[in-house]
Symmetry: C2
């Protein structure tokens, strides 16, 4: 049972990851359209032994397309997704354009797959930091509702696209050669440096990335009153995000209970080897599907043993973006 | 009013920083002994236009020495500091050897300078992450006692010494050249990667670095019941630590109050430019004396406006180690 598939933004970092994941998972399709901006139109991309020519993404790109995976930025999603939907295409959108729209399901298949059926043509893929952070929190929350989360992120360059990953490499070379680093993709030096996430700040002083984690988690958990505060930071790593997550539960909970719950949770691997001081690292998570979880500890600063600290790492391009969208598309079929 | 000064561990990263700071602050001394392990004995070091020969650190190194700055590791402090004290030397020790000893003052001059006078020959310099984290928390705590702190660190290679800083550079070159990175100073790859702090884990799953922050903060604040939980992480940065600090206060507090309190606090600079998304970075803090503080936000996940998030950056070798010790020595004179 195949489908007519399109990828909008196929030449970007997430677009390229879509192709790898579709191939690895042997995603069933009858036809595949590769779409990107006019700048990339005409490029040739090999996929499963066949050569495809990238076409310009327009409102007319979606005739006969059943499912379109969008990762071309929020502005392009806003411009082109409605036209696709009008023609009968279901859009799985990786941008932030529709995530908070009450008519659009925001889906992580391990958490709320039932929402997929409620779609009116668009299903939104959550922000990468949200996915990586809450896939492992969900099985804990189901067993013992989380009252409050304090999150600090360690975010890879890939979240800002291919140009940002190249900039990390180029700046690193420049600095090792004793030159001034060139900043284009990022506002500040990323090589051998970290900075507060480069998304716009709201009036409360939180940046968009932080507020996405707060608002998306509430929507995905269907829990408006979960208390969440985030600090989002860019670090000089290529493609896996880490997060330090402090959790306050409703009832007492032990690290062993957390390990047991996560040991059987879909999409999660526990890597919590205290004896060898061996815990999740970005290089472990890169190219992997699962979110890795370690540093599972009782937080003794929360009374009644209701506090737990965890440390997670996940591939920003895979589960943080392309994989989650492909999983949604698989459930659609 | 000079003194006879000695530096134990002068060839290390902190030892070299001692020299820079003593020169920059025109620290008054009549004589200076440069001490290190036998491996470094005989090396020549120029300081203030004069050439010094590094002598081997032994129990007999301290005759006539008034003040000794130690940064040669905890084992050497345990072995040699008592002999120095016996001969009348006051030791300012940068290692963890004596920090939790109830007879040894643990001092940050901006916080508890009065403890210096209580010394019985040894004054301990706190751990770098502790100093960088709590210098800006103290003025807030004095105004409105902190009930709970949740800290996640972003720690530079320098905390593990010169060899670790070189390893970050070497591994980075290896990876850019397509080679496997060589791990010697650190157990895991540090270039383009992060890992949980490489200090030993206790039975509660916290590493020593995390427990230092908990126990040292309580001792320095003279506040046994402040609730603190930490997650300490190494990142690929050379010499400045950052920390994401979530604070729960006893009473309501606003970001403006925090900015006002920190604006006049010694050893602290506020860099909190929301309009330009410009906040403290390791490259800002490197080589600077002050701890930089930004991302000052109300934490809306704490009831009654009692929550605040801050983001700090401080030079691990300066205020995190050498500068704090020299400031203690200045107050001793």
């Amino acid at each position: 049972m195949g489908c007519n598939l399109a990828i909008a933004g196929v030449t970007g970092a997430v677009g390229q990851e879509f192709l790898k994941i579709l191939e690895a998972r042997d995603f069933p399709f009858d036809s595949l359209k590769m779409l990107a901006s006019s700048r990339s139109a005409g490029k040739k991309i090999k996929f499963k032994g066949k050569e495809y020519i990238v076409e310009e993404l327009t409102k007319k790109s979606f005739g006969r397309v059943d499912v379109a995976l969008f990762s071309a930025g929020a502005a392009r999603s806003r411009e082109f997704a409605p036209a696709a939907v009008e023609g009968g295409t279901v859009v799985v959108d990786n941008s932030s354009a529709f995530r908070t729209d009450p008519d659009v399901p925001l889906v992580i298949p391990e958490i709320n797959p039932q929402k997929i059926a409620e779609n009116k043509g668009i299903i939104a893929n959550p922000n990468c930091s949200t996915i990586i952070g809450i896939v492992p929190v969900w099985p804990l929350h189901k067993a013992n509702p989380v009252k409050r989360m304090v999150v600090s992120t360690y975010q890879a360059a890939s979240g800002a696209g291919t140009s940002a990953m190249l900039e990390l490499e180029e700046q690193t070379r420049e600095i090792l050669d004793g030159k001034e680093p060139t900043c284009k993709a990022f506002p500040y030096q990323i090589a051998f440096n970290v900075f507060s996430h480069n998304s716009a700040l709201g009036p409360n002083g939180y940046n968009q990335e932080e507020m996405k984690m707060v608002n998306e988690t509430r929507k995905i958990f269907d829990c408006a009153d979960i208390a969440i505060t985030c600090t989002c930071i860019r670090i000089p790593v290529f493609r896996a995000h880490c997060e330090s997550i402090n959790l306050e539960f409703s009832e007492a909970i032990t690290p062993d209970q957390v390990r047991d719950l996560l040991g059987t949770a879909p999409g999660v691997s526990v890597l919590d080897d205290r004896e060898n001081n061996r815990f999740p690292m970005p290089i472990d998570a890169s190219g992997k599907d699962d979110i890795l979880v370690g540093r599972i500890r009782q937080d003794e600063s929360v009374p009644e043993n209701r506090g737990i600290n965890i440390w997670v790492a996940g591939d920003q391009l895979r589960k943080g973006a392309a994989l989650n969208a492909v999983q949604i598309a698989e459930k659609l079929l």
